[in-house]
């Protein structure tokens, strides 16, 4: 099975991931997703008036945490591919491995 997450889903994932780390609510996190051909994907999260930088692996972890906590997926079965397209922005396709 393959899941497709749009940019808002990835933002939600980072919000959930950072909220769990910082012991706050996801609603209190602001996320700025970015892509650069030389640096890849990265994000900046604003939590408690503090900015936290996230790299590509953090984004993948965030997607896994989001799918685990909100959709009961097993993180060990997930393979996350973050993509960028000029028109669609940043999105992710997630492969769910079979047992």
């Amino acid at each position: 099975m393959e899941l497709l997450l749009n940019e808002q889903d990835i933002v939600d994932s980072v919000c959930v991931y950072m909220a769990a780390k910082e012991y706050t609510n996801p609603e209190k996190v602001d996320v700025d997703l970015a892509f650069n051909p030389s640096n890849g994907f990265f994000a900046t999260a604003l939590v408690h008036d503090r900015t936290v930088n996230l790299n590509e692996q953090d984004l993948i972890d965030a997607v896994a945490v989001y799918l685990r906590d909100y959709h009961n997926f097993d993180p060990s079965r997930l393979l996350v591919d973050v993509n960028y397209h000029e028109n669609e922005g940043i999105f992710a396709s997630v492969q769910v491995k079979d047992y």
């Binding site: 497709l4 997450l5 972890d61 906590d69 591919d81 973050v82 993509n83």
Partner: protein, 137 residues
């Protein structure tokens, strides 16, 4: 010169990072789509799509939830306080040793009232027993 500017503009648009404005949590109502056909993604021809490649989460992500989602419950309010007040009044009058005082008249000890009190007490004890010794499956 004009060509140079166009080339420079093109190069800048390619090199400049894609930065979206800061966004917040949408509420967790995911809109992600599921596609059962495994190869559909790879067959699409997107020449300008950058792929990070499929990667698994790091060891930091465990299988168990790192936190429990708690939702605020709407406890309290006028009616719960009124019910507690009523129950307090009822029990207070029930356990009063010298009977009831209604409209200024004292009725003293009543055997019938005492029996009703015992019956109510037995019912309450039975309910509490039923709650705490409930069969667990």
């Amino acid at each position: 010169m004009k060509k140079l500017i166009i080339v420079f503009a093109l190069l800048f648009s390619l090199v400049a990072p894609h930065i979206s404005e800061a966004r917040g949590f949408s509420g967790g109502h995911s809109s992600f789509s599921r596609s059962s056909s495994f190869g559909s993604h790879s067959t699409t021809t997107r020449s300008s799509t950058y792929h990070s490649g499929y990667k698994s989460p790091s060891n930091k992500v465990s299988g168990t939830r790192s936190y429990t989602r708690s939702y605020p419950t709407n406890r309290g309010g006028f009616w719960s306080h009124a019910a507690a007040f009523g129950a307090g009044t009822f029990f207070g009058s029930m356990f009063h040793p010298f009977g009831g005082h209604f409209y200024g008249h004292s009725y003293g000890f009543s055997m019938f009232g005492f029996l009703i009190d015992i019956v109510i007490l037995l019912i309450i004890i039975r309910i509490l027993k039923g709650i705490f010794t409930r069969r667990r499956y």
